[in-house]
Structure formats: C-alpha cells, structure tokens
Amino acid sequence: MKFSLRKTYGEPFVWLTATGLALGLIMVVGLVGLIMVKGMESFWPKRVLEIVLKNSEQPLLGQIVLKRDQSGFKDKKEWQIFLGNRDRLGEGFRFIQEDKISRLSQPLDIVVIERREYGPALGRFLKLELAQNRVLKVGDQDFYKTLNQELDIVSNQWDEIRDLEKNQIGDINAKIQKLIEKKKGLERKKYSSISKKIKVIDDKIHKLNETYNALAATASNLRQLSSQNKLVYQIFNGEEVGLALGQIISYYRPNQMGLFSRTFKFCTHLFNFLLTEPREANTEGGIFPALFGTMIMTILMSAMVTPFGVIAAIYLREYAKQGFFVRLVRISVNNLAGVPSVIFGVFGLGFFVYFLGGSLDQLFFSNRFPTPTFGTGGLLWASLTLALLTLPVVIVASEEALAAVPRGAREAALACGASKWQMIQRIVLPAALPGVLTGLILAMARGAGEVAPLMLVGVVKLAPTLPLNMTYPFIHLDQKFMHLGFHIYDLGFQSPDSDAAKPMIYATALLMIILVLALNLGAIAIREHLRRKYGSGAF
C-alpha cells in the first residue's frame, strides 16, 4: 500500500485535536485524582518501618512519605521518612538514600501515639507509671487494659477542662468585657450620680473576676490530675520518654492492624479531622472551625446576594425598557463577572471595612476604642464582599431563568386579570425558581472557593471562637473567622514546618474540592432537569 498524506484527508489533524481534549480530560481527572489519593492517604494509618542502614547499627523507625530522585543522580532514589518524636529529635523528617538501606522490617510492637503537642510519637511502650508508685510493665497482663481505662478517665478530664476554659471562662470574659465598655461609656459622661454607677459596675467586675479565678483554679487542678500518670516509651535511638497521659489523644499499633481495623482508624481520623479543632499551629487536629467559618460565610453571602440579584434580574427583564441602556447594563454585568476577585477584596477593604466599618465604630462602638469593632475585617464584610463578587452570577442566571418562562404563561395570567406584580409573583417567579437556584448554587461554589478577597477583609489563621456560638448575640458579624481556602494557603506558606503540614493541606484541599464539586454537580443536575422540563436551550 502506497502512503500518501493527501489521502488521509486531514485525519491526522483530527487526531491531533483529539489529543487536546484528551489532555484536558487527563488534567482534570489527574488533578482531582491526585488530591483524592493524597487527601485520603493522610487519614490512612501507614505501617511503620524499621529501617537498618548499612553504615549504622541503630535502626530507624519511620513511615515513608515520598520517594524521589536524589538530586544530581537521576538513577538513584531517596526516601523521605517521617520519624515523629519532634520533641526529642528536633526534626520530624529525614531523607535516606535507597541504596544505603540494608534491611526493612515491620515489627509488630511499634506504636504510634497521637499527642496533644509535638505531633505523633513513634516507638515502643515500656511501662506505665501510676499513682502510689504502681508500675506496670508492657509485658504485664493488664497493661493495655489499665492504659485504656486511664486514658478514658483522662480524656473525660480533658473534656471537662475544655468546657471550663472555652465555655464558662469565655462567658465570663465576654461579660467582663461588656462591663468594662459600659464603664468607659459612663466615664465619658458628666453627671453627679456617675460614680455610684461606676462603683456598681466595679463590684460586678470584681465578682466575675472571683468566679473566673475559681474556675481557672478548677481547670488547673484538673490539668494537674490528668498529668499525674505517666506512660514511658522508647524511641528508636534508645531514649526513654515519659509522657503524661493527659498529653495522649490515642495510640495504635499500625503493624498489627488488619484491613478492617485500619479502615476503622481511617474513619476515626476522618471524623476527627472534620469535627475537632486544630492543634500545633493548625498542622494537627481538625479543621472544624475553618469548615464552619466557610459554611457560615457562604450562607450569609447567599442570603445577601439572592434578593439583590433577583431584584436586579426582575428589573432588567420585566420592568426596564429594553434598549441601549439595558444593553449597556448587561455588558457591564457580564464584565463585572470577569473582574478579578482581588479587586472586590480591595473595594471591600476600602469601602466596607474602612469607610462603613469605621463610621459604624465612630457612631456605636466608640467605647471600645482604640480596638476597632467593625472597622476591621470580619464576617459581615467578608460576606458582603463575596456577595458583590457573586452578584453577576446570580443576576445572569436569574435573568436567563426569567426569560425562559414561556410568554403564554404570562399572557394567560394577565388575561385572567392579574396585576403585573401578581403575574411575576405567582407565575414567573415560581417557574424561574429552579433557574435562580442554579445560579445561587453556582454563586455559592464560586464564593466558597475564593480566597484572595477574603485575605483582605476578615479571614484569620486561627480564630479563638466560632462566629456562631452560645454567647449573646449568638452570631458575631464583627468577628474574624477561619476559612478552608485560607487554611490551605496559610498552612502551605506561613507554617513553620510545611512538610509536616502537607497531609493536612491535602486533606483540606480534598474537602474543599468535594464541597465545590458537589455544589457544581448539584447545579448541573438542576440545569439538566430544567432543560428537560422546558425543552428549550435557553440555559
């Protein structure tokens, strides 16, 4: 068969274009897959290896983090090993060269201890030192039974401490703060009975302070109680470390675990990740405050953007005279959708935070000066900024949804004697609702994923309290909050040990992707449903 390029009729080029699509799909699937795998991996209890190196007697204990080319040698690999025990070793990770390894094994007695401070410890249990000089060796029959019992007790004590410190003491602090503000306000006014009132307030503050001291004493008592008993373990370099039981969150022996118990551990890790608070400069523990902050912010944003967006869409579609002006407005709205998000942040900072917030502080919160209340970034301003950012999405989607409502339905309503508003309210809006909802969900997806504007208007790396809690007025619009996206940025770029933070970042990224994808898929599903319902290509 004689080959001729002309005879291929351009087929090779068709295949070339197929490459483009294939590449695009590989990119999407690859990226999402990468984050899925890496994110899931961070919850999975990895086996701990005992590594004997050729040039040394002492075996290392560690988990493999990654394998990569040695720099300069493309044919040799090196392994990054997680050693744990950061408090003792000073470094959490070590690189070893693959060709220097002489023996690998997985001893069954290795434990991973998850601690409140310094990250996990890897080693072997030695003994348990209890009160009245009672010592249990690891070989003793009821060693694990006693350990688990004691851990349960300590964990209850910690719950109590947390409740004391977070809720009760936090409550008192809030009350004292309020009273001090009131006092400041009174001091500025000048009338005769003022000193009496101030005295009353001072008394109250004094009383609260007493309660505070009592609570703090209880908490510190409990703390002491929880650190009475000690667990002694040995790390790979032979050092024996004593650890107060209060410092232990849990322990597990990864090399003894089967698939089932590892899956169970995986779920526990996942559960902890979602529902607990961060520890160790956010690199350990959970991300609950960030997740909660993201959700509250997104909900507030939706509550603000929906009415405005829908009103603007109704105006543009139903009331405004279609002509040059409306065309101009449409161009601008579309344009606004393309304005970089950071510009909204700039505007939010300048207008909402400094201008509006500053004025609000002058008017209502001058008692708190020089601490700004609304004159600094916070939940309200962040939601408003993002509402502005997502406004075009909602306007465009709502307009399209309104346009898709059949003319016949409107005319039928009007013919029945409905007023224009009645027609919109009873016929058009219900019909357009799914479309509006699609727009709203897309807006939420966009809003939840934005970080750049939030960095300017109110996100922090660690917020002491949630923006929605049990202290009056329950929702704290002026408070700064944590956010999943900023959590990723902060952990990756501002944390002292970004290697240690990586599993956390991947896990957070995974959570964020799942959230955003779920919202998007939801929107797509609604869109498809609508398309079928109306049978038109207006969306």
């Binding site: 304005v339 505007f347 998007n520």
Partner: protein
C-alpha cells in the same frame, strides 16, 4: 366606561403592584448604580496621589527689628519656633502674640564672638563656633507636658561637645595659623560610637578645614566617655584648601568644597580618611549652597545662577565603588547670593527659598510640591520634623508659620510609570520596593514591574492554555460523538470551578518540585504528544475500512488517551537520557561535564533558573483558563449553522477540511472572544501566582524565573498598608489598573460576542 364591580381589582392589589413596581425599579437601578460605584470608589481613593501640597497660614508675626536671626528652627509639632540671633541667643517665638523669649545664650561660656552657626536637624544639634576658635555642640531635647488642653513641648539645651580647636592644633603639632582667625563653618555627626566634628577656619592665608574624630568608649549603659581620637586637615587632590565641609549622617562620607567650585569626596572608615573622588557640578556657576538630604545619600547643590541638582552616592557602572553621580536636576531657582534651605526628616522633600520665591521640592521625583512668593526676600526657612509645618522669616523680620498638608509627596506619574534614579542604584530604573528597614528609606513605587509581571504570567498561561483549549473545543464541537459531549463538557466545566488556592498549592508543592529537575522530560512530552497524535492519525487512515468501522466516529479520543498516557510516560522516562545528550555543561568548580538543565539554562542564557517559575504558573493557571476558553469557543463553534457544514460536506470536503476551512473562520470572532475572557481571568488570577512564584518584582521574560503580578501584590501588601497612606493609595492605583485591564479585555470579548450573535442571525 363602567366596569362592573366584580371585575375591579381590589385596592390593595393595585397598591401592592404600584409599590412593588417602585421598589423593584428603585432596587434595580440603585444596585446597578452601586455596581458602577465600585470603580468610582477605587478611583476616589487614588486621586489624592496626584495632588500637590497645600498650606494654610497659622500665624504671622513681626519680630523686633534689632534681631538679626541666623537660623530658624521648628520643633516636631510646629508649636514653638526658635531662632538663633547673631550674638548666639536662642529665642522662642510665642504663638499667641509673637513675643520672643530668651532661652539660652550658646556662646556665653565660650571665648570670643559667634562667627559660625549651624543647625543639624537630623540629630537636632546646634553647633556654634567663635573667633577664638572654640566650638560647642548643643543637643535640643523636647519635653512634652500637658498645658491645659494643649500639649506643649519645652525645649532644653545640653552641651554635648565643646573643644578649643586652637588647643587641639597646638597639641597635635599642626602649623599655627597666622593673623586674625575665626571659624566659618562647622559640622557634627554621631553614628554609633563614631563622632566627627568638621570645622573650617579662616586665617590670613585663607581657609583651613579640619576633621576632629572622637571615640566613645563602649559601655553597657550606653554613652561612655568620649575621647579625642585624632585630627586631620582636609586637602583637595592637588592640596587645595577646603572652604566648606559636609558630613553625612552615617559619618562615613565627608564632602569638602574648595575655592574653585570643586567638591572632594572623602571616605571615612576605621583605617582613616581617603580621598575618593572630586567632581565639579557646574560648568559656569559657583556652588553657593550644598547639603545632604535625609538618609545622607543624596547631596543637594545650588549654584549661583540658580541651577540646583543632586549628586547621589551610587554604585558606579562597574558596580564596585560608591561614588557621587549626578542623578537629579531641578527647575531653576532665582539667582541670588544666598539661598535658604530646610530638609524634611520624613521623606526626601526639602524647602528652598531664593529671593522672594519659595518652593517645596521632592528629590526622588524632582517634582515641585508647592510654590509661593513673598513680598520681600526670604532669609530663613524651616520644616517641622514631621513634615506638617513650614515656616519662613523674611528680610523685614516677618515670621510666618504655615500648616503643611502633603500626605503623598512621593506621588506623581513619574513615580508610578516612569524610570527614576533611586539612591544607591547605578542607573535609572523601574522598581517596586514599597517598604524598607529604616526611616530614611526611599520607597520605590513604580508599577511597571508589576504590570510587566502580570503580562508575563498571562503570556505564559495563554501559551500553555490556548492551543489545548482551542483544539479540544474544535474536536468537541466538530468530531466528538454527541452522546459523549454531554459528559465531556460538564467535566471540563468542573475544572473551571476548582478553587484557585488549590491549583496554586498543587503548583507550588507538587508540580514545582516534580518539574524542577525534569524540564527535559517536559520538553520531550511537548515534542512527543503532537507527533504521536499525528502518527496515530496517519496509521488510522491507512487501516482498512472494516477495522475502522469498529470504532464509531467521534470516539477517537478513547484510543488516544491510553496512547497519550503511554507517550507521556515514555517521554518522562526518557527525559534524563535526553538531558544527558543535549543539556550538558562543564561544572566550573570541578571541571567535570554534568548534565543538568538548570545549570545549562543559566550558563547558556545567563538567566537564573528558579524552582517556582513562570512555567509552573503557566501550567497551574492553565487549569483555570483552559475550561473558560474551551467552553466559550466550543459554544461559538457549535453555533455555526448546520447548513454551512452540510454544504461543505456535500461539496466533497472531508470533515477536517470542513472544520478548518468553514467552521473555524466563521466562528473566529467567537473563539477570539473566548480567548479574551480567558485572558481576563489570567490577568486577574491571584492565588495561583501568589503561591506558585517567588513574587519578586523583576523585569525579564525568562520562563524559568518568577514575577510579581498586580493582583498578588495587592494580596500581599494591602493588609499591611496603613489606611490612607501613600502605599495604600498606590495599591489602590494598582487595583484600578488591573480593573481597567480586565475591563477592556472583557468589553472587547462581550462586544465580539454580540457581533457574532448578530452575524449568525443573518446566516
């Protein structure tokens, strides 16, 4: 017409309708206005940057005519102006009635009459010298106290040094000076433990300048004992006598002026004093006045004909030595024999008066911030330390104090968009460096490097994304099986919704280390992919029809995905081999031949190779830009009327010919519009650039180095910028430029889209 009651709508319905109509009109309109307001708000924050200085008169008093002030001093708060009389009296001027109070006589405990006086604002020192060759240095300290509702500053004077030059000369075996001698000029600087007094003496033989070095014993408590550490006479290159001496505030540069108008620059270090350079600032004129500006780097010189310019201590062209170079030239002053001068201690501004004209000038930008004219010649001027007040004294002994309002003296078009010769730089440049470690730091606020960085990031993102997005869109719209399209399009759209912070993180922490020593593999992938695809197509076209029929048309990419993955894998593995063959360099330290792309790149091109570079940004940004270009171009390609395609196919064109000759030209405007929207996204993308580059504001197109974009700059610097400060407003200006850039790009895209919609209507 009479409408039966039952057909009449109830009044409440009508009212609600009317009310809702108003409400929606009002709401809709105001929302739209608010949206436009964003732009105007940002603009309103920027405008003050371009304003000049404003002054308002606070007080004007006539001093007693018998006072002959030699200098005028303003305190930090502009509350208590001082002047020094010709007999050494320091007097304050009351702001209530202009009455003067004697505070101290500086020469009362010195021998002789006052012949030289100098006020050095940087360390707040007053220096006096007499015709008995005695000198003294007084430090002015202010004590703040509450006086009723007002804060008051109360000055106190401490003599910190006093020497008899005559005695020092004698003790150090210098030749004794003949005839009547007196001190004409003085300078005193402290810098750490080093202290220097410079003094010029006139005798019958002419001028002599001496440098007295003092040493402070280091002590834990701070000021130890100050001891004499040597005396030098300053001489020009050929032994010229120096008439005037200037010392910068770091006490390492001394400048002397001789009778011919030549300046000599001496460098001072622990070894001693070295003459480094001589320069003549003017061809025709004699220098009348000179002084260092804030920071001790820029040396301001005024000539007799009114020329005024700045010589700065900069690295010379070879980058070896710091020498004086002429860097700035200002508008001419009125020629006179004596100029009045005062420098700001907040920034590089200075106040200069010649005859009746007075002007506030800014050294960095060469701008005139404010100009004024008095009725009679001005003799002395003063600026308060905080750059909030200015004062002058005219020859009629009239004292005027003004409030100065100049919040953004650095502002101006040249600062943001022009080349400026900054202190210490070897030539004029565009530079962005908004904050520095010291108070006398000169902020570099050129937006050009940031705009450049934005364009660079955009360019590399587009280079990566456009080809992929375009051919993917072409395939999807023209060749892909319709059933698959329903899955493929949403999948690609999902990519657009991936949060950019995740893309940035993946770029910085996964892609950058992965690619840092695998660039050859990437190059191979770029070569392999199209080759393999085309080759696959050729083979496919040669296959017999029975075989080809197994795979329905539009399913090609099912085959191409595994083949491509294989090709990518192969290229990845072959990369090191490729590197070994092509990218070899000789290691300068060991002399061995090594194969390393990074080293090769920097040796061949002379440009750096960084791990977080534009390539990473391009790829990571591709994830954000590809789906946008893909979706919109696919829409416009798919919208091309079917009749056109049918006609083409009926005429015997193949599906590729139809696609490339009929569909693409018809939809070109739409594809262009899609590219514009993608471009707009790339221009404004923040988190990806912030995370995946080093954020250094450099200006080079090197693909293996980073950049700093406008958007990343905003995210980094705005949270720290003081409210309504210059940096804050400059960042808003950056935001405005970014806004305008995306606005233009998006408007073009939108107009094109409307155009294409019209066009399809007629087809």
């Amino acid at each position: 017409m009479n409408i039966p009651e039952r057909f009449k709508p109830s009044r409440s319905v009508l009212m609600i309708d009317q009310w809702m109509t108003r409400f929606i009109r009002f709401g809709g309109m105001s929302l739209i206005i608010a949206v436009f307001g964003i732009c105007f708000f940002i603009l309103s924050q920027v405008i003050p940057l371009f304003g000049g200085a404003e002054i308002t008169l606070l007080h004007q008093f006539k001093l007693d005519s018998h006072f002959k002030p030699l200098t005028l001093i303003l305190d930090e708060w502009g509350e208590l102006p001082l002047f020094v009389n010709e007999n050494g009296e320091v007097r304050s001027i009351s702001q209530k009635d202009g009455r003067t109070t004697l505070l101290i006589n500086l020469v009362s405990d010195l021998k002789g009459n006052l012949t030289a006086l100098r006020y050095e604002p940087e360390q707040n020192n007053l220096l006096v010298g007499t015709d008995a060759l005695e000198i003294a240095v007084y430090r002015i300290d202010y004590e703040r106290f509450q006086d009723g509702d007002q804060m008051q500053g109360n000055p106190s004077f401490h003599k910190i040094q006093s020497y008899s030059i005559e005695k020092l000369l004698r003790e150090n075996l210098f030749k004794s000076l003949k005839g009547k001698t007196f001190i004409t000029d003085l300078a005193y600087v402290e810098s750490g433990s080093r202290k220097i007094i410079a003094s010029t003496i006139k005798s019958e033989e002419g001028y002599h300048s001496y440098l007295i070095k003092l040493k402070e014993a280091s002590s834990l408590l701070g000021g130890g004992e100050v001891t004499f550490d040597g005396l030098d006479e300053l001489k020009g290159k050929a032994g010229e006598n120096i008439q005037k001496v200037y010392v910068n505030n770091l006490a390492d540069a001394v400048v002397g002026l001789d009778a011919t108008g030549t300046f000599f620059y001496y460098w001072l270090d622990s070894d001693g004093i070295k003459l480094k350079q001589s320069f003549v600032p003017f061809d025709e004129e004699k220098p009348i006045f000179a002084d260092f500006l804030l920071g001790g780097n820029s040396f301001y010189i005024i000539g007799g004909e009114g020329s005024n310019l700045i010589y700065s201590l900069n690295l010379d062209k070879n980058g070896e030595e710091r020498l004086f170079q002429k860097t700035k030239q200002f508008n001419h002053l009125v020629p006179t024999s004596s100029y009045a001068f005062a420098k700001s201690l907040r920034n590089k501004a200075f106040l200069v008066a010649a005859e009746k004209e007075i002007s506030l000038r800014y050294a960095t930008t060469e701008n005139i911030r404010w100009e004024g004219e008095s009725l009679v010649p001005i003799q002395h001027v003063a600026l308060s330390r905080k750059y909030e007040h200015l004062a002058y004294l005219d020859s009629a002994n009239q004292f005027s104090l003004y409030k100065l309002n100049d919040p953004h003296p650095e502002g101006g078009w040249r600062t943001f968009f022009g080349k400026i010769w900054y202190e210490g730089a070897s030539n004029p440049e565009y530079a962005w460096q908004s904050t520095g470690g010291t108070d006398d730091f000169e902020p570099k606020l050129s937006l050009i490097p940031l705009i450049f960085g934005t364009l660079k990031g955009t360019l590399y993102a587009m280079l990566f994304s456009f080809p992929i997005a375009f051919i993917a869109a072409l395939y999807t719209s023209e060749f892909l099986h319709p059933r698959l399209k329903k899955i493929v399009k949403p999948t690609m759209e999902v990519m657009a919704s991936l949060p950019s912070v995740i893309l940035g993180f993946i770029g910085a922490f996964w892609l950058a280390p992965l690619l840092s020593d695998r660039v050859p593999s990437l190059i191979l992938i770029l070569i392999f992919l199209p080759l393999v695809a085309v080759f696959l197509g050729i083979i496919w076209a040669q296959l017999p029809n029975q075989l080809r029929r197994i795979l329905p048309k539009g399913m090609e990419f099912f085959i191409s995905i595994p083949v491509l993955l294989l090709a990518i894998f192969l290229a990845w593995k072959l990369g090191p081999l490729f590197e070994l063959i092509v990218f070899t360099v000789i290691d300068p330290t060991t002399g061995q031949v090594i194969a390393d792309f990074g080293t090769w790149w920097s040796q061949i091109t002379g440009l750096p190779f960084e791990q977080r570079n534009s390539l990473i940004v391009g790829i990571a940004m591709g994830f954000a830009v590809i789906p946008i270009i893909f979706t919109i171009s696919e829409d416009s390609l798919a919208q091309v009327p079917l009749s056109l395609r049918s006609a083409s196919l009926a005429c015997g064109a193949s599906r590729w010919q139809t696609a490339i000759r009929v569909v693409v030209p018809t939809a070109a405007a739409g594809v262009f519009s899609a590219t514009m929207v993608g471009l707009g996204r790339a221009v404004g993308e923040t988190m990806i650039v912030l995370m995946a580059t080093g954020n250094t504001p450099i200006m080079e197109w090197n693909i293996f180095s980073g950049m700093r974009t406008l958007s990343a700059n905003l995210a980094v610097e705005l949270p720290e910028a003081p409210f309504h400060g210059t940096l804050y407003r400059v960042l808003f200006l950056g935001g405005l430029i970014l806004f305008l850039m995306t606005f233009i790009v998006n408007t073009i895209a939108e107009l094109l889209r409307q155009y294409i919609r019209e066009r399809y209507k007629t087809l």
